[in-house]
Symmetry: C2
Subunit: 398 residues, 2 copies
Amino acid sequence: MQKVMIAGVGMTPFSIYKDRSTRSLAEEAIQEAVQDAGSSIHDIGAVYFGNAVGGLITGQESIRGQVAVRKTGLLDRGIPVFNIENACASGSTAVNLAWLAVASGQHEAVLAVGAEKMSHENKAVTFKALESAVDQESLDEIKAQIGSAGAGQTQSMFMDIYSAMTRKYMEKSGATPEDFARIAVKSHQAGKLNPKAQFRHEVTLEEVMQSRLISDPIRLLMCSPIGDGAAALLICSEEYAKKVGAEAVQIAASVVVSGSADGSLEPATVRAVRQAYEMAGVGPNDLDVVEVHDAAAPAEVIEYEELGLCGEGEGPAFLASGATMLGGRVPVNPSGGLISKGHPVGATGCAQLVELADQLRGRCGGRQKQGAKVALAENGGGFLGPDPAATTITILTR
Amino acid sequence: MQKVMIAGVGMTPFSIYKDRSTRSLAEEAIQEAVQDAGSSIHDIGAVYFGNAVGGLITGQESIRGQVAVRKTGLLDRGIPVFNIENACASGSTAVNLAWLAVASGQHEAVLAVGAEKMSHENKAVTFKALESAVDQESLDEIKAQIGSAGAGQTQSMFMDIYSAMTRKYMEKSGATPEDFARIAVKSHQAGKLNPKAQFRHEVTLEEVMQSRLISDPIRLLMCSPIGDGAAALLICSEEYAKKVGAEAVQIAASVVVSGSADGSLEPATVRAVRQAYEMAGVGPNDLDVVEVHDAAAPAEVIEYEELGLCGEGEGPAFLASGATMLGGRVPVNPSGGLISKGHPVGATGCAQLVELADQLRGRCGGRQKQGAKVALAENGGGFLGPDPAATTITILTR
């Protein structure tokens, strides 16, 4: 396996785009990534296209990637397009396949693209589409599992899933709703500094705690929003990156795991990150900056523990220490995370890596972690009940 | 890159399964493939799961593979599952990614699975879902392109696409509707001998020519049917195949290409097969047995030419020569093809390779090509207009 680099990144601002298609969003991200690398669309050998709910929201299934890229020039040589689905982890799963294509020497340069048009004039269509990332054959069991306080309070089953997970975590760790509110405050502080973020304003602890209860203890301002957007990464060999003179970072590890069928394994993140640390030859103390999948705020605190940033049950204290704030020892979600940057589901896995590649290249302005050399992204997707369906870990170095 | 083998195959009969889910179909195919290889589910390193229209027909998007395999034991170690879409070429695109995973040494043994629950109590749901494999942003242009005689005569836009392509081919080659009817007769003769085929009865030329006109010149008995089914391949290193004592065949080439955006390139099959012949070090005259994507009968004759089995414009004469019949020099679609074996879209690419692996292992009974050593499958998917969205070529040898 040869060294694999990210030589260019591109991303639309995340937002609600009433008048733009998935294609239009993908085109912008792709053009930016190719330009950033100093590459040409005609050097690209394959496209790995992540999208999660396009079929149910826009009606475009099956050949989503070919449709999205057909006007970029990428099909001028008829290169292969791989359409990858993995719920909210679609983007980083596409990255994993792109990584292998380059690592194995099959291609010199490829594109990983995550794109999602998630908004719909009828919000119920969006919520229904998101539920398709839950095992449809086990819906009754799953509803029973997430039952009790949270279930059914919201249109979004995923917030009920997160709240059930959160209540368990609170029992174990002593975490409080205020802890999760602090995550939301922190994320918005970072998002304000990210020109691509969907929300670019701060919120106070009070505002978060007084926002509408979605699924106990999760409140509206602790949730990632519905949004649209695309992100793209030009992934290539070290030789190619040098040839085009790109300022590149290395993909030191890329790992995809599935959840267990019955909750009998360690958490997916714990298994995935162990593999990734080994692959990259680093440990949690080496990380300078991290992006985690905070589709709901409590997930960030839980991830502190699962990634080994702190010990078990120490999440709330670790948060309180300020270590994960901008300016802290290891800023987590400097992009604003899913809560503030936004979460157009299929795009998220790529967007996390756009942020981290830019952090390692010192391009993040007011939210820059100075001298960052090792970065990690955790991206999760879908729900089998009791486990998530997929988790990915990507480690970047420079 | 190391040698890649198919060590085991499994497949449900193709049929309309009112009371079985995609999961149930996938489980049967997977268990059969693992057993055929003499392997164990616990040796599998990853799953590549092809499905095309599950989201729109069953409501299960995003994590289709994890849901389908969750009760097989495959998730007992939380291995990665990759959900691959590429319309009617989803199955063979999954095979391509599985092939790379083994060729690169990333995994020793993986599964490629194609599964589709395509039937729905309301046929309109199925036809609508299939249309999602056409570029939705270019529907008006595409309808204009396929216009004239055929368009709109059928519920299935794809038969209008095929009929437009067929009319062009008839002008060039002098092929007649009777030629296409002969393909249907030939396919049914083969399907009758395949215990896994959806249609296991012969039809006469007259019956085909008198069947309902679907989209001129395509008649009902020239069309692949709606159906359900699954097929699975255990793909592994040569060393692993030896270890488990499998009777294995080699994947000598696996190529995926996209169509051009504007029809400016050579046909996708021509480009893909050129690459595949080069990769495998064989030419059209070396082929002993072939499976092609005859979603409608005329496609088979067109493919004779595009694969180089005969010269340009010689398709009808080549068919008339009997070379592609069972017992001929190079039987095409000995499985019955899509018309008689059936075409549960996401499963088809894997099912073609089930047949070819069994042909190379001499397991095909009355439809066996004696002494077959080199086999080729062509699988196509989706429509960008004017080109198909994707074409794959796989060459197997033993």
